[in-house]
Amino acid sequence: MRLIEILRMIGINLVQNKSKVLLTSLGIIIGTLTIILVIAIGQGGEEQIAAQFSNMSAETIYINMSYSPNLNYETVSHLNEEHLKQIKEENSYLRMIYLRAISYKMVTIKGDKKNFTIVGVTEGYSEISNLLITQGNDFSEEDMLDAKRVVVLGYNIASEAFFEPENAIGEFIRIGDYQYEIIGVLEKKSEGLQGFSPDESIIIPFSTAENNDLFDKYAIPQAVGLVISTKEIKQAINRIQSTLDYMLEDSSMYVIEDAGGRIDAATASARMMKMLLISIATIVFVVGGIGIMNVLFVSVKERTKEIGVLKALGTSKRDILLQFLLESVGIGVFGGIVGVAMSYVALPFMKYTDIPVAASINGQIVALIFAVTTAGLFGFYPAYKASELKPIDALNYE
């Protein structure tokens, strides 16, 4: 038979058996959709972790206050720029280090009063913490030395108050008694395991914050540094420890941690989640496959008689198999495409839940392959069995 005629027959069969085709497709659609969603969730989780760590490199070292319930904020010894200088000087493993302290202050932006996170930083903060300035400029050396009243705004603050972040440059905000000029806006970061969220923070030179009394007693400075190479993290930490030991009255109040450890832990849990999702996807493959197999198997088996008629009229086995293979592959392609289309509706809804999702072409391709192969396989096999029968047996099949 000519291929075009086989295709025409398939067309007639599909149109004539609309409800059966839809029933078969339904299983394929649900299977496809589930696979896309599972993959999107897996991808989403991975991307979320990647985003969290995009601000952080494994070379990062933190010197943090180790908080305990009986911590005395009045007497605890504070890290200062002197300490940092000393640490840097005595440590060849350390590339750079900066000091920062976080406090919360009432800030007036464009007449609106609100509480904001204020982060006082010393030089090197943007490089070490991976914070880029998209609009305007970063603090100059002079700003830092002279404790100028200038600030850099987090992306969300700037875009909420000034609509376009670029409009913020040159404007003033008021903190306490003084006006501070906005000289720059940070790039959007979404997330940060920095101890603060850059998008929602106001960055200010450490000296400026100190001079203008913006730090309260709870704003305990911490230091963030970069080592030259991840291989030397242990040595760098040990060296910092010994510097702190002699410089601070009670160095035990501070802990030195590296980001690598945190990243490792998070990556390990991400891998766990991925494995979990892969097992779910496998179950979906198997269960969905069996469901599709059942429906398709029965509906093709029911047509054994039709195969008998085709054989009786002299259709070659090849043409019969081609017809049934293409027909079930057609159903698979149809179901798969509808499933992919429905994922475009379903995925945006997932955004309303707390589950992070990321649609991916890969997911769609995997799901389509699943749809087409299961449909092709389970439509082909019973047709193959029927075509193996003697014409008379296929014809008299009940």
Binding site: G314, K317, P391
Partner: protein
């Protein structure tokens, strides 16, 4: 070479639950071009089994079968399907039409199998559909037709390839006597035009329309 069918010592048996049932016993039959024969026999005597062997729908256990000069016993599966398509027009007791296709789609099928173009196939099929008087119903489906109309549709489908041999298994079995007569006069017309026909029936009156009558009793033909 006027021999269309030549059966020599054909045997056929079925085995059900370890019990062998010999259905055809040393069947010998020769049919020449233009013949019109009837095979009479009681139910279960093996008529359909014989017909299926002649129609290359089933294979015999032993014996020789020559169809229009071709040794059927030595044919491959593919060659058998070509034989069925080109040499045989089979009219089944139960019609065996494909339900989702219209009359035209059913009738052109044997021609499409021959890789004829749709245009050619359609014009040939239309001729036969007219001949069996179903022209007005050409785009109807089998379940929209009466039994007699379905039988005529099956006849048109059997004829489109101008086969060397027309086989009819109880063509009037499911029809009332009036419709049965119409079918039989159609067969008469086809035979007058030179078609070779083998018809199965258990009705002596129907058998009398043929030129020669054979009797099948418990698998023995005489």
């Amino acid at each position: 070479m006027n021999e269309i069918v030549s059966l020599r010592n054909i045997d056929k048996s079925y085995t059900i639950a370890n019990e062998k049932l010999q259905v055809l016993k040393h069947i010998n039959l020769t049919i020449t071009k233009g013949d019109y024969i009837a095979i009479l026999g009681a139910s279960g005597s093996g008529k359909s089994t014989l017909m299926n062997v002649i129609g290359c729908m089933d294979t015999a256990d032993a014996g020789e079968y020559c169809l229009d000069g071709v040794d059927v016993g030595s044919c491959s599966e593919h060659e058998l399907s070509v034989l069925r398509n080109e040499k045989i027009g089979f009219i089944f007791q139960k019609y065996h039409l494909i339900p989702q296709y219209t009359i035209l789609q059913n009738v052109i099928l044997p021609l499409l199998i021959q890789r004829k173009s749709r245009l050619d196939a359609t014009s040939i099929a239309e001729e036969y559909i007219k001949m069996v008087g179903l022209w007005e119903r050409i785009s109807h489906k089998p379940n929209e037709l009466s039994g007699g109309q379905q039988q005529r549709m099956a006849i048109a489908r059997a004829l489109v390839t101008t086969p060397a041999l027309l086989l009819a298994d109880e063509p009037t079995g499911a029809l009332d006597s009036q419709t049965g007569k119409e079918i039989l006069s159609l067969f008469q017309k086809l035979n007058d035009m030179g078609n070779t026909i083998i018809m199965i029936t258990h009705d002596t009156k129907v058998a009398e329309h043929s030129k020669r009558i054979f009797h099948l009793n418990d698998g023995v033909l005489n």
